[in-house]
């Protein structure tokens, strides 16, 4: 099947640094508490202040001028030129994912559904105000997850990507040589190479600001505290309380994403409260750091290398002269 070596996500491999304290695992002595973002999409109003404030502070160039027709999303994704990205999802129905058992009016095909895209027809499905009364407009400010086990950092061959004393993951622009490995290693599709620059760029969690005790630009600007910045432990507690409140108030679909230190990346330094399945927002449902399998990869490569050597030996010794 898909994952031949499929296994339930368990604790991190012994080689990995202890969960929750990546800074100590990266050689930082007496590191300050791990800092992060909690992005509560249930209060996001989609204003994009985070996108702009980030650009203003970090001098990020524009992404380009192009109407994408993806609701009010015209930057498209997290890119080298958008370190915060607000996703907009227009939903005529309350939830994105349907299990097979649920009755649904939609065809049960494995279809990639193009919301609002110029596909087979306009996206209207019901036709009356009443029928669309359960309409939702989800907004979510996405950002680099600053994984506890960060694939980008693991694979970076130059040390341009490094773990800071705050437990965040930062690209050093003076070091990066644009090899592009991190781009493919990120399970969230965050880090990206800037076309006319050649280096990769992403959220630094405002490394310069937080070093001076300031709040990152996006969190400082956010009008509704959808983006909260602080010590990760504190944020996790706050987030759990918020989910409980939402469940109490009749929003059972509220769930956290990236908060679990036991998930495939050891938990995110920037985690989220979502109101639908992650993939609805363009997030992977079960990301895993690729280097988790690295020991086994080297093992298989070793076997293949031996096979190769053996092949050569046999070729020379095995035949007549």
């Amino acid at each position: 099947m898909v994952d031949a070596q499929g296994r339930p996500g368990g604790p991190a491999t012994p080689a990995a640094p202890p969960p929750g304290d990546p800074a100590a695992g990266a050689g930082w002595v007496d590191a300050p508490p791990r800092m992060g973002f909690f992005t509560d999409t249930s209060v996001c109003i989609g204003c994009k202040a985070c996108e702009v404030a980030c650009k203003e502070w970090n001098g990020v160039p524009t992404s380009g001028l192009d109407l994408l027709g993806m609701s009010y999303d015209n930057t498209g994704a997290l890119t080298a030129n958008s370190w915060r990205h607000v996703a907009f999802v227009e939903q005529p129905r309350p939830a994105g994912h349907r299990g097979g058992s649920e009755p649904t009016e939609a065809p049960a095909s494995g279809a990639t559904e193009f919301l609002g895209m110029p596909a087979a027809g306009p996206p209207g499905r019901t036709g009356t105000a009443e029928g669309r009364s359960d309409f939702r407009w989800l907004m979510m400010s996405d950002v680099c997850k600053h994984c506890t086990q960060a694939g980008c950092l693991d694979v970076c061959p130059t040390g341009a990507l490094f773990r800071t004393e705050f437990g965040t993951v930062v690209v050093q622009e003076d070091i990066c040589n644009g090899c592009g490995y991190c781009v493919s290693a990120c399970p969230y599709g965050v880090i990206d190479r800037r076309v006319d620059d050649g280096r990769v760029w992403k959220c630094t969690l405002c490394y310069d600001r937080i070093g001076a005790g300031l709040t990152p630009a996006c969190a400082q600007a956010c009008p509704t505290e959808s983006i909260q910045y602080g010590p990760l432990d504190e944020l996790r507690e706050r987030a759990a309380a918020r989910v409980a409140t939402l469940h109490e108030r009749g929003t059972p679909e509220a769930r956290l994403y990236g908060h679990d230190p036991h998930d495939g990346v050891g938990g995110d330094g920037a985690f989220f409260l979502l109101l639908d399945e992650p993939e609805v927002y363009g997030l992977p449902p079960d990301p895993q750091v690729t280097t988790r399998d690295l020991p086994k990869m080297w093992q298989r490569a070793g076997v293949a290398a031996l096979a190769m050597a053996a092949g050569a030996v046999v070729a020379f010794l095995g035949g007549r002269r």
Binding site: P22, A23, G25, A26, G27, W28, V29, C47, K48, A49, E51, V52, A53, E56, W57, L153, D154, G159, A160, L161, F162, R163, T164, E165, V170, Q172, D174, I175, C206, Y207, D208, R209, G211, A212, L214, A217, Q220, A221, C222, P223
Partner: protein
């Protein structure tokens, strides 16, 4: 920089000798990264201002180095905005430092097809002359029944909602004294 410094600065050496053998954190940090500080800390001065866009009146802090605005961000002290800004307010630095801003007087002569340059002082003088001429040509002393009018309907103005109270005060005062009453702004729109 001697060979010794090169070696000491080589992250591989730090990997082998420090607490970060895998080269993922402290050992990989560059000198530039270690020395990073926010540019707001280096500002010569901070002006306390107010966002120029909508009428919520969010507080802004304008950081200046030399005569250059280096950052504009929300003022956490403001009980109105609590340090927050919307995308427009957050773009204020780009607004005031935009390369598209016009910084010289431009003049289009009657029937002209292109812009021309004009000295600011000359422009002011030309405008004053045109006001006086328009006033002279269109002045109304009294109405048909001899009641005072004291006005010109030859001059109009539109704008003020993005300006300061002090500016609106002088605008209204001067226009009123010159008898121009067709003064309007966005509040009518």
């Amino acid at each position: 920089m001697g060979l010794r410094d090169v070696l000491l600065g080589w992250p591989v050496y730090r990997q082998l000798t420090g607490a970060d053998p895998l080269g993922r954190g402290a050992a990989a940090q560059s000198a530039r990264s270690a020395a990073l500080t926010p540019r707001t800390e280096a500002a010569d001065r901070v002006a306390r201002s107010v966002c120029p866009y909508c009428a919520v009146g969010c507080g802004q802090r304008v950081f200046v180095s030399g005569n250059q605005v280096t950052q504009i961000e929300g003022d956490p002290d403001s009980p109105i905005s609590r340090g927050r800004l919307c995308p427009k307010g957050s773009a204020s630095k780009s607004l005031v430092t935009s390369p598209l801003r016009q910084t010289t007087v431009r003049y289009r002569r009657p029937y002209g097809t292109e812009w021309e340059d004009l000295d600011l002082d000359t422009a002011l003088d030309m405008i004053a002359d045109r006001i006086l001429a328009a006033r002279a040509e269109t002045w109304e002393d009294v109405d048909a029944e001899g009641r005072p009018l004291n006005r010109t309907l030859g001059i109009s103005s539109l704008g003020g909602a993005t300006l300061d109270n002090e500016e609106n005060y002088l605008i209204k005062k001067l226009f009123t004294a010159m008898g121009a009453l067709q003064i309007e702004n966005q509040a009518r729109i």
